[in-house]
Symmetry: D4
Subunit: 169 residues, 8 copies
């Protein structure tokens, strides 16, 4: 990510990777303020053994696209809407997703860092059965969680449920 101000969003990607047992590193690399480090990072990522790069950025978000321009690895982009972004994420979404032919960035929802982690695991799961199995289990848990909440609604009814406080999204 380009700044530690993005950490509160991007940490969700790291949490997913940690929980799936995928080795990962979290780095601050700015396309606009630390160009040399960004280039070096993108250039050496593959030889250092990195397999997938998740890049999050806000505003005129160039980090994902520039990293994708340099590395042959798959790059996943996360548009970030921080407190100082005035156009509520449309600027970062369009800056990341509208890449020209030849240089794809796989883009997720605004502030969708958790999904970036899951998608990375889906990619890695193609080579690694253990990760693939965890992805499947994660999805089943997701289903189980919604089913449990659905059952709770069936049991309690609307009014009682709304009085209780733990609501997912």
């Amino acid at each position: 990510m380009g700044s530690d101000s993005d950490l509160w969003v991007m940490k969700e990607a790291a949490e997913i990777l940690d929980s799936f047992g995928v080795t990962n590193e979290v780095k601050i690399v700015s396309a606009h303020r630390t160009v040399k480090k960004m280039i070096y990072y993108a250039k050496t990522a593959k030889t250092r053994g990195i397999q997938v790069i998740i890049a999050g950025a806000g505003g005129a978000a160039h980090l994902p696209g520039m990293v994708a321009a340099i590395t042959p690895l798959p790059v996943i982009g996360v548009p970030i809407m921080g407190t100082s972004s005035r156009l509520h994420g449309l600027d970062s979404l369009l800056s990341i997703v509208q890449m020209p032919p030849g240089v794809p960035v796989a883009t997720l929802a605004v502030n969708g860092a958790r999904n970036a982690g899951i998608f990375a695991c889906q990619i890695l799961g193609l080579k690694n059965r253990a990760i693939a199995a965890k992805v499947e289990r994660y999805k089943q848990n997701l289903e189980g969680d919604v089913l449990r909440r659905a059952a709770r609604l069936d049991r309690l009814g609307i009014k009682k449920l709304l009085k209780s406080t733990t609501l997912i999204r």
Copy 2:
């Protein structure tokens, strides 16, 4: 893709995959009109040996997200702006990219099918060195092509170049 009217966009993904020597199938599967086939396709994709799914759709574009909800495989989404889409692709872009936590769709630019093909190859290149090598060569060719065009501009100047007709994008 959901309709053969999307074929003129989505064929670029197939062309890339063919040119990289990646076995692929091109199927019409509609989330809204052929639900059963869509579910069956998504459910059996992994056991049939498919590794990556590219799904393109326009308007209220649900195909990529629904396929991603069913399969554990990585799903790449291509928002399509056909002639009958009245909001120039913003509807399909937002319908595909704004997926909820737990069910990522890796989204590319509006009509960005070529990049979907390249991104799929980047994923597959993690397991298959031959494909990875082709991705790198493709990027070098891209660079070479732009450099050649840059050289042509240097050589001809603006006016002569504009009279010639073969312009890339």
Copy 3:
């Protein structure tokens, strides 16, 4: 609805139906996280005697469209703008309303669950005079309520009215 986090919006539909004496059930069914349940729900709805389905969802909102793809019943969609939606409801509105030919979802305003309930009653009122009569009375009450408020403004004037606190919308 796809998640109990949508309940604070969708409960308004249930309240209307209850107040009109229309039997209804409130269920959590996620298009993306509980696909099987969603399909089962949509497939069996008609034979279970359900006549109208109201589906609310946020972000890349696929629930209304997918339910409409499966059931022959009329489906009413409510775009939801929850706290985690970054594009203030435009994403869910477009994801629901821009359905392709053949699979309509009757869409209401962002967070317009109350109107979804009323519209369902208008539909049911075609068969059931008691419900139709209640719809007419509801509209008259609405008018009466505005007229009373108008009279209050006439009586009090702007300043006094603004000091009082009960303002409708």
Copy 4:
């Protein structure tokens, strides 16, 4: 509809209704230019035996909402993007869908008149088994049509199919 310039869009609703054997009338009634007729039409619709009203309008599209304000019948709105609409349908979509609590208009996609016809039939199908059966058959035909096109793609491959000219949407 408010003007015969909308007829090229709205005729699709009439065609669906005709093909489903639903008696219907096509009328030009402008909320802004023929207020009296609009009010009279909306006020007498129910007693004339009309059961569902489909209203299409463009720009600052007030026809559907005003009709819904007057009649207790369900009103379906079709945002129209004509050639003179400068904001490609976003104006008419928002003018129709964002109705206040108490006065719903069930809104379909921009220029989605065909779906308006189908949705009306879904409503009428609740009372009339013949229409309900036709809706189900229509959906099956839709599926069959896509399956046939899918089979054609399987048979011909991309290149041959693209040379043929009959593409749906």
Copy 5:
């Protein structure tokens, strides 16, 4: 205005008119909930001696356009963005401004009720020199106010000024 919830915005129009000595009435008239009253109001406005109508509304804002459809008087529209409007005023702005040929509504900024009052005075000033003179004085005061604030900035400098609290807009 359509609801007393709009009063906190619309009162600024009344305040301007009061301060310019222009007789005015503030009424709650809803296009959607009190259709009859709206029609009656618009129809009788001219014969009652009203010369200009200012209509404010939010969401799918039909009040200004419908009043303009009925009365031959000039109608000024104020798009309102209340707390329940989810698309931050773009819906009401487009619903009011995009009127079809023949039925103009003179539209002001979102929540621009004060300017509606001033514009009404500019219109009335064409007939009434006293009002015209007040408009000119108002504008001079506006200028004087900004010049005073500019002088204050010149005198205090940025830091001291920012510590003081009375900032205009």
Copy 6:
């Protein structure tokens, strides 16, 4: 207007004024390219006897607002979407309508010059009964025209009408 390229739109305002017998002048005055003339025009307009100013402009459309800043006369703004405007009129609409408190510009639809003419006549009609009478007659004609077209549709039916070619908007 700021440029003769806007004439094809703005001429509709002149045509209305001519047809209502309102003396008018059509001038090219650019806020950005002929500042002095613009200031002079706005400053002297009132003393020259002008009563209402209609200003049309595209892109970053400053002409209406600047004229309104200088003259005490009512100013009507027409956002223009010419062929070189890349954001289909949203830029000019927002540049004109979102004026700050104290300096109103009464804004009409994108390219809504005809309505600007009508609105000017509604203003002038407050002082001049002949103009007011023409406005009322214009509206009646509008109604008559729509009623005639409605009757034609009733008479011919959809298919025959669509074969005929004279459609209004």
Copy 7:
């Protein structure tokens, strides 16, 4: 700037200029409320020795464009999104950036006053080596700052860093 309510944004430009040792003046000049002062300011700026003008404004933001229309000096525009702007800065951005051919305003991000100051220094650095050297040092400091924060993240890890409170953007 047009109002002291913009000072909390625009002061960042002054702070940058002060810290780079560039003489500057901060003035309140409104395009809409103090037209004469605005014209005088723009007209005399060059002869008074001013070299670059930074103009910030919100809503229908005409100040930068009008100043650019009058002065031959380079004008830098800052779209401001104040608390009373209802369309979150899109209105001011488009009002400033979409200037017609011949009258450029160099536009920065919404509320991007700091960058306006830096850009002014980059311009002045072309003539003044001391300023140019400071721009280069500023950029190096920027890089150093990000690198330090990156090192801090490497040292502390995500959790510890998030507990600490000083995050940049």
Copy 8:
């Protein structure tokens, strides 16, 4: 610029510079496809004697921002809306203008290359009186041109002028 497909827009910048007698070079340098060349170009620009860089790009337009990240020179950005850009320039505008603090790109209108050339001359005019004089003369010609066209309209009237074909913008 990033591609010779942008040449038809960007040539207008070169034409202005040529006509003002400013030495310039027109280069194709892609941020995404020729990263090394882009870095080299940006890094060496200042030592090669370049004083201002104009960078034009479309879609997820990173070229201006990346060049600005590397060079201390002022960078002017031109958002380009080519035929393959599906969101009519909003994507490139936001990608260029919304740069983070510390790395300004002075952004002009979508496809505003001519203004980029003029703005560059305004910058250079600070050091070079001859160029400054030409900028002033250019603006006077602009004014003269509009005045001539205004006079032509005064002379011919609307109808005759519209029959003639040479309209500016």
